[in-house]
Amino acid sequence: MKIFNYHSAKDVKEASKLSSSRSAFLAGGMTTIPSMKLGLASYKDIINIKGIKKLSGIKISGKKVTIGSTTRHAEVANSKEIKKAIPSLSALAEGIGDPQVRNRGTIGGSIANNDPAADYPSACIALNAVIHTNNRKIDAEKFFRGMFETSLKSGEIIESIEFAIPQKSSYQKYPNPASRYAIVGVYVAKHKSGVNVAVTGAKSCVYNDKNLSDILSKSFSADAINNTKISASGMNSDIHASADYRANMVKVFC
């Protein structure tokens, strides 16, 4: 690991001010620290944001679940309120990595990182999430831009993520047998306004499968998609799963 300056920010303003193109925020550190140790990333400044109280916590109000960006996966997994409001969301958090990762990793870190195989981005898309930053509100559909790429600007900090409570929802994941990240994860959520089928792991970035979403919006049943063909084009292919296999899994899990 290369030498770096460590800062512990007391509020969002300070954190944002300290940041530069050669810095990283330290939330759970579950992505940043392994990348630094493996020599894949090095930073001049590491800015710890875990001390900023306002960034952490879970709020439920009417039709929304709002989760602070430094809320840990384990807290979402174990939250009685979330389990009641959106059981599939706490189930998703329960399925991330292992207990050590869940006890440190945060939702803000996960979506800021936007790993193509991460779980949370699919929840954001399926649950019509709005990402609140220190500057603005961003719709999930506009937030995830590409592989490890988001619409966050330099110095911009995610403060919270606001999810719409659906009528029905489910998240199914086929974990990579080695890393346990999603080879394919499919988040289906039925809202009053329609159904979202969000897919992670399959392509270079999470996406809303508009075709499946439309079909299920018209008829919300497993049989409705029986004759739908999922194209493997644009899907990832690696030693763990081919594009064809991923396409099949999207259908199986939908």
Partner: protein, 790 residues
């Protein structure tokens, strides 16, 4: 005192290991410590044109940067292949030079090019980035199957072939096949594995310029072997000036049997810079540079009669031994493989032909089971296919071909001293509820799942090994074992063994044996190992040898203690020696109340005379002290055997395959500690199931290791398994007084074919290891398509 042998004594070493009080090589720090970081080849195959260390040498904190040129200048010898194999045509195996730091060429990703030694690890690592190596990149040879038809890696080694070895009689096999009603054929791959011991390899060498002694702490299964190789072959220091200590070691599975380049370099460098040099592998270095396991491509055939009788067996295997011939890299695919390839069966004619090939991948050496898993996978998938093709029950075809009289002389090499294969198979069928399998299958089907069942009946040759036999077969060392039993004056005991415990539980098992032999409480016995300056020379731990060979040496040394004790007790009790008996720690005189405890006798041995109350004259001519050494060379290998049944459930939609029932009945001869033996079987099964369903080492076509971290290399985890249902049968070994056979490798040997036979039964088509979800899904699809077309 009740006998401890056979009882479930809790592991004495666990308290230390589980509470973080173990002492591992990485925990050792010397004053003036320096830290080494290795510059490794990023290319699978390249010529080294120039190594420029000028910038790195001037980097902050750097003490020294050493290269292959320095190794050559100092005449440090290369790493060795310990077992000389001859080809079928009588020629010697071909071995390339393997300098500890590469001089002219690099031959796999991770090959050692230079070492940077600095005041801190961070400084060493940063400076390593400044070592500029000018490579001429060459085309890499990666695939086992194509290696003989690819670019030639070494000038003097045509076809990249180390040897072309034959065991058996081709003519006899040809005759047998001519008489066959049917010939069953398979083409299989034994997937390459990365051992992944929990503790990564490490070395810390300290040099004392005034005594010229090197002390090397290292993660070794075999410190004495490390010492003799580093001194006699690498020439770093004479044996008497090299002390090798393998303290607590966190697993090895074969990958830590022999010294690697890093130990040689740290020892040599410590002497050169006159400061201690420490190296600890990070996990990716382990993936890249630990010796790997398996990697065979095999075509095998079985000649059968319609009634299921086996007539003959052919085995044509290409074994990938990696870029260099490692210490046991050449024996693993030959003498540890070929003789076991006919399985437990009567096989009138057989041969095994192995072509060992070099590739631009990490060296391949012994990994839990070493050769025997490959052999068992070959014969057991072949036999199960024969049963399918002949429409026979898989148990019936096996029983038909079991030998029933022991000792049984096998077709290839081994004379198996004892066994009862029928008993084991019957017991596993009962324990595994074979009769009600169809019911379970229906139940799985009602949930939309496919269920399959697979058998494996195996034997293996371990308890390695009778020295004259192995030396005749090309082994460069003997494989006996030593023990020293040392009574302390106050009656407690230290037992030194030349074997080494790195997870096996020797501290407990060996103490049970010594406690029984000497009649001393187990709490009064300490087992010592892993330090060449403490106990006598020994050959370490691998090949399920420690108990049968090392444990026997302890028994023999205890016998000598008792023999001397009798002479001393007789003098103390004023009777003749032949009037003294020894039971339960007491020397007694029959039909009298005269007795001395072994503690009193030990005390007398250390205070030989009369002093106040103490009256303990030794017999005339008897030496004082009570310490005995024994070197035991077994007359034969030992032959554990067993029958395993696996049931799997397959989800056709996703291809996901789960082991849902696993039953194993093993014959390990006498069992000293069932708790430890069950643990060994569990661990072996986890690795065997891991090989069958999850683990796979993957190099891409350019020789880059893709599975170089746990993000991509699938280590099985607890949730991948079901409860293991274990049973035992016992036919004691006749080659050692304890009757033990060895249990460390059995699970890893038996599980792969049991699991794969179950998968094949479930999906109705052949498939290669590991049976990952995608592969199973693809195989199911293909089969469904074929049956639709038909």
């Amino acid at each position: 005192m009740a006998s401890l042998v056979g009882s479930r004594v809790e592991r004495k070493e666990d308290k230390k290991l589980l509470t973080g009080r173990g002492k591992y090589t990485a925990d050792v720090n010397f004053i003036h410590q320096t830290y080494a970081y290795f510059v490794r080849s990023p290319h699978a195959r390249a010529e080294i044109k120039k190594v420029d260390i000028s910038k790195a040498s001037k980097a902050p904190g750097v003490v020294a940067v050493l290269t292959g040129a320095d190794i050559a200048n100092d005449k440090i010898g290369g790493l060795i292949a310990g077992w000389r194999i001859k080809s079928e045509d009588g020629s010697d195996m071909k071995v390339p030079a393997h300098p500890p730091l590469a001089n002219e060429s690099v031959n796999y990703v991770g090959d050692h090019v230079a070492v940077v030694i600095a005041e801190s690890l961070d400084e060493a690592r940063s400076a390593a980035d400044l070592v500029k190596v000018d490579y001429k990149i060459l085309k890499a040879v990666v695939k086992t199957k194509d290696a003989m038809d690819s670019e030639q890696i070494y000038k003097d080694i045509p076809k990249n072939m180390c040897f072309d070895w034959l065991l058996g009689d081709r003519a006899k096999v040809k005759e047998a096949f001519e008489k066959a009603d049917k010939v069953i054929k398979i083409d299989i791959i034994n997937n390459r594995l990365i051992p992944n011991a929990m503790e990564p390899r490490a070395a810390n060498a300290d040099y004392n310029p005034s005594t010229e002694e090197i002390t090397l702490y290292t993660t070794s299964q075999n410190p004495h072997l490390a010492r003799i190789i580093i001194s006699a072959f690498n020439g770093v220091a004479p044996e008497n000036k090299l002390r090798v200590i393998a303290p607590d070691v966190g697993g090895g599975f074969g990958s830590k049997i022999y010294p690697y380049a890093e130990e040689v370099v740290c020892s040599w460098a410590a002497k050169k810079i006159e400061r201690p040099v420490k190296w600890v592998a990070d996990r990716t270095e382990s993936f890249l540079s630990d010796c790997h396991g398996r990697d065979h491509v095999t075509h095998a055939e079985l000649a059968v009669k319609n009634d299921g009788t086996f007539l003959g067996f052919k085995n044509e295997t290409i074994a990938n031994i990696g870029a260099y011939a490692s210490v046991f890299g050449t024996v693993t695919p030959t003498y540890l493989f070929g003789p076991c390839a006919t399985g437990v069966y009567k096989m009138p004619a057989a041969y095994t032909n192995v072509k060992a090939v070099y590739t631009n991948t990490a060296p391949v050496d012994a990994y839990r089971g070493a050769g025997r898993p490959e052999a068992t996978y070959t014969i057991e998938t072949l036999v199960e296919k024969a049963a399918r093709e002949l429409g026979m029950d898989p148990a019936e075809i096996r029983m038909k071909n079991f030998p029933t009289e022991f000792p049984y002389q096998q077709t290839l090499v081994h004379s198996v001293d004892s066994g009862d294969y029928n008993a084991g198979l019957k017991k596993v069928m009962e324990l595994g509820e074979y009769e009600s399998f169809e019911k379970r299958k229906k139940e799985s089907e009602s949930r939309g799942k496919l269920r399959g069942i697979g058998f494996c009946t195996y034997f293996e040759a371990c308890g390695i090994a009778p020295s004259p036999v192995v030396m005749m077969l090309g082994c460069g060392i003997g494989l006996w074992e030593s023990a020293e039993v040392r009574f302390n004056p106050t009656g407690n005991v230290t037992v030194f063994t030349g074997s080494h415990s790195h997870g096996q539980g020797h501290d407990t098992t060996f103490a049970q044996i010594a406690a029984d032999q000497l009649g001393v409480p187990i709490e009064s016995i300490e087992i010592a190992h892993g330090d060449t300056d403490k106990g006598p020379f020994g050959y370490g731990t691998y090949g399920s040898r420690s108990l049968t060979v090392g444990g026997t040496a302890i028994v023999k040394a205890c016998d000598k203690i008792v023999a001397k004790g009798k002479r001393v007790a007789a003098k103390m009790l004023e009777v003749n020696e032949d009037e003294v008996d020894f039971n339960n720690g007491e020397f007694v005189v029959a039909k009298s109340n005269k007795k001395k405890t072994i503690g009193e006798v030990a005390f007398a041995c250390y205070l030989p005379g009369t002093y106040g109350e103490v009256k303990s004259p030794l017999p005339d001519g008897e030496e004082p002290g009570l310490k005995e050494t024994s070197f035991f060379d077994p007359a034969n290998f030992s032959f554990p055997a067993g029958s395993h049944i696996c049931e799997v459930e397959v989800d056709q939609d996703t291809g996901e395959t789960k082991v849902v029932k696993y039953t194993a009945v093993d014959d390990f001869g006498t069992i000293i500690n069932p708790l430890i033996v069950e643990g060994q079987v569990h661990g072996g099964l986890a690795q065997g199931i891991g090989q069958a369903l999850y683990e796979n080492c993957h190099y891409d076509n350019s020789g880059q290791l893709i599975t170089a971290s746990y993000m991509d290399y699938t280590m099985p985890r607890a949730d991948n398994f079901t409860d293991f249902n274990l049973g035992f049968t016992c036919t004691p070994a006749t080659s050692n007084p304890l009757g033990t056979k060895g249990c460390g490798e059995a699970g890893a040997i038996a599980a792969p074919p049991a699991v794969m036979n179950a998968v094949i039964d479930a999906i109705g088509t052949e498939i290669s290891m590991p049976a990952t979800a995608e592969k199973v899904w693809t195989a199911c699809n293909k089969k469904n398509k074929n049956s639709e077309a038909a």
